[in-house]
């Protein structure tokens, strides 16, 4: 139960800067996901929290205590590795007992705590089994139990589900979230899979190219991305992003999307901010899930390129290379490739970004 504070954290490897001035507060008992594509600096951040890497600048505090120079083994960090790093030459019992043994805990106490942990994680029937041939969900529980038994202040999980096949991942996600609730531990979870981050995390820190892009609850990040990267990265498919120019019309401020036509008037609030910002060249963003069919002559008229039926939903692709739009409709939507369809964005769900900087135009 520890709050982690990353202050002006920088990590350089030679000339390469892996992490640029990161500030992040992870609250006590929070499940924080570090989300981003590979090479975004999320693993580096985690390794620095664990003490496996030393920050080039800045500091990391646990409940206000500076962790600089504190040895890996003394930080009270539980680390669950991508492949779990179970000691394959030991049985389940010895794996669980390892952390206590190396601390010189009395044998009777080790036995009591290992049994309690095994009971808690439903590992009791396999205590004597060699750990090399266990199934992956048992390995996950064992890895968590092995770390949890020494009562770490925080848990770091490094993409623990990336070796699991897709069908099983849902089960593992549920189990992991369940375990986190039981332990009520601060957990930092590194992943490149937004579904994992969205479903499990209390808050998500989206990272790219060593820069922290946005921190927020899954819904905040999803609904109000702060820049084009987050808008595109979060969501499957990502947000539709169309280049356009702000223009005044008799009904209010609209975005001129060139060939595609002119959008519906923006919300009064968004219009007001856009006017204050004095930006003309913008990117007009909206979620594929918020695209609705419009009556002929209204909304944007765009040709359907192809249709992806994914069961529950149908993803319709519109437009050409320049101005591509995706829309998620019900699975029985009656559109065909080649025809031109009129679509609009649900009122209140359009977002604006500054085309030059990529930053969202919104209330701060």
């Amino acid at each position: 139960m520890t709050a982690i504070h990353l202050e002006n954290l920088v990590k350089r490897f030679g000339a390469f800067t892996a992490l640029k001035t990161m500030d992040l507060e992870i609250r006590d008992g929070e499940f924080m996901a570090l989300l981003g594509p590979s090479g975004c600096g999320k693993s580096t951040t985690m390794n620095m929290i664990a003490g496996m890497e030393q920050p080039s600048e800045g500091r990391i505090t646990f409940d206000g205590r500076d962790m600089n120079g504190v040895a890996i083994g003394r930080r009270g960090v539980g680390f669950v590795f991508q492949n779990y790093a179970i000691f394959t030459h030991m049985n389940v019992y010895d794996n669980l007992a390892y952390g206590l043994k190396v601390r010189g805990t009395p044998a009777s106490e080790i036995d009591r705590r290992v049994k309690a942990m095994a009971d808690f994680l439903q590992l009791t029937p396999m205590l004597d089994k060699p750990s090399a041939k266990l199934s992956v969900n048992i390995l996950q529980r064992l890895a968590i139990g092995r770390s949890a038994i020494v009562e770490p202040a925080i848990f770091l999980l490094d993409e623990p589900l990336s070796n699991v096949d897709a069908a099983f991942r849902a089960v593992m996600r549920t189990e992991l979230k369940h375990l986190q609730r039981q332990f009520r531990q601060t957990m930092v979870y590194v992943t490149h899979d937004q579904l994992e981050a969205m479903t499990m995390a209390d808050r998500i820190a989206v990272m790219d190219h060593g820069v922290l892009q946005q921190v927020g609850t899954p819904l905040e990040v999803y609904n109000d991305p702060v820049n084009l990267f987050v808008a595109d990265f979060i969501g499957s498919p990502g947000m539709n992003l169309l280049k356009g120019t702000l223009a005044d019309s008799d009904r209010g401020l609209v975005v001129d999307l060139g060939m595609l036509g002119v959008t519906a008037p923006l919300d009064p609030a968004l219009s007001a901010i856009a006017r204050v910002n004095r930006v003309r060249e913008v990117v007009y963003g909206f979620r594929p899930e918020r695209v609705v069919p419009a009556a002929a002559g209204q909304g944007l008229a765009i040709p359907v390129t192809f249709i992806e039926r994914i069961g529950a939903r149908t993803v319709v692709h519109f437009g050409d290379r320049e101005q591509r739009v995706k829309a998620v409709f019900d699975n029985d939507v009656a559109v065909q490739a080649g025809e031109t369809v009129h679509v609009a964005v649900e009122p209140g769900f359009a977002r604006l970004f500054d085309a030059a900087t990529g930053v969202a135009i919104r209330e701060v």
């Binding site: 664990a50 496996m52 890996i72 083994g73 003394r74 960090v77 539980g78 680390f79 590795f81 991508q82 492949n83 790093a85 179970i86 000691f87 394959t88 030459h89 390892y98 952390g99 043994k101 190396v102 601390r103 092995r146 770390s147 020494v150």
Partner: protein, 318 residues
């Protein structure tokens, strides 16, 4: 599946479906025929000399007798070679010296090799160059090693020069002609030459220890020594047994380096089992006796190695 398909095809294309080409006994006869040449070869290389040796060891045969070895039964001596061997104190002394060399050299090579391998797990400047240099002794012909160390340990040689400089007064020990120190010099030469092999094998083992498990142990609070005992050694058990077995077998046969340095002397001070066998063969020419010695040693070494292998299999299953 593929077998089935083949069978069907054969029966359809008539001319190939002669009984000889059909696989009816699960391929056992075909397998035997295919491996027969290799089996005969193995028989001649391994089994035949062994039987020949056993045969000669039961006789007083020597090439000087003027009869072929296959006529050796004419010199049958009722196991006299073996009874002589049991009473041969020179043999037992040589065996004792061989064991002593093995008990000092192999652990020394192991510990030095392991220490160096651990050093080479870290990165340091010039690592690749040192790595290449490290392996040179192993590639030197043992006879040349013998000559090198013969020169080094002369009473006016570099070893004594260095010791003189260190202690600040003249030091002129005749290493190779003093019974007490000749064996020390021989063991130093052996350790110099064969530590690199240990190093190489153990480094391969160390590299194979999963890094994430080491990290996991570190994160759980294990110190370096604890990690070494609980992760590294168990993971390297098999490779350590292999390395030790190779060196025990090889060291037991120590000959060329030693023979060039001391010739087994002074007196019999460095006479190991191989030197003794060589002398008996070349000087005394009692080949029946030599065969008996060789056979006894072969059996002793075989027992040693099979013990090591069974330990290794036990380690693998654990």
């Amino acid at each position: 599946m593929s077998m089935l398909a083949t069978k069907e095809k054969l029966s359809v294309t008539g001319d190939l479906s002669t009984p000889e080409t059909r696989i009816e006994d699960g391929g056992r006869r075909l397998g035997l025929m295919l491996t027969l040449p290799a089996q005969v070869l193995v028989l001649f290389i391994a089994v035949f000399p062994l039987l020949m040796q056993l045969y000669i060891s039961l006789t007083d045969w020597s090439p000087l007798d003027g009869i072929g070895w296959w006529h050796a039964y004419e010199l049958w001596n009722n196991f006299a070679n073996y009874t002589d061997l049991a009473a041969d104190s020179r043999f037992w002394d040589a065996l004792g010296r061989t064991a002593l060399v093995m008990l000092i050299c192999v652990p020394a090579e192991f510990l030095l090799g392991l220490g160096l391998a651990i050093l080479f797990m870290d990165n340091f400047a010039g690592k690749r160059v040192f790595y290449s240099i490290m392996l040179i002794p192993m590639m030197v012909v043992p006879a040349v090693t013998g000559y090198m160390f013969f020169m080094l340990f002369q009473s006016g040689g570099p070893v004594n020069d260095i010791i003189s400089t260190l202690i600040g007064r003249p030091f002129a020990l005749a290493w190779l002609s003093s019974p007490g120190t000749a064996m020390v010099a021989v063991m130093i030469a052996d350790i110099w030459q064969w530590t690199p092999l240990m190093f190489l094998i153990l480094l391969a083992g160390l590299v194979g220890v999963p890094e994430d498990q080491m990290r996991a142990a570190t994160l759980l609070g294990a110190s370096w020594t604890q990690r070494f005992h609980t992760i590294v050694l168990p993971k390297m058990k098999t490779i350590i047994i292999i390395a030790l077995s190779i060196r025990v077998i090889e060291n037991f046969k120590i000959f060329d380096t030693l023979y060039i340095m001391t010739g087994g002397g002074p007196g019999v001070a460095t006479e190991t089992i191989s030197v003794y066998i060589y002398k008996v063969t070349q000087q005394d020419l009692i080949w029946g006796y030599v065969a008996a010695i060789a056979l006894v040693i072969l059996i002793a070494l075989s027992i040693l190695v099979s013990l090591a292998i069974s330990r290794m299999n036990a380690a693998k299953e654990a």
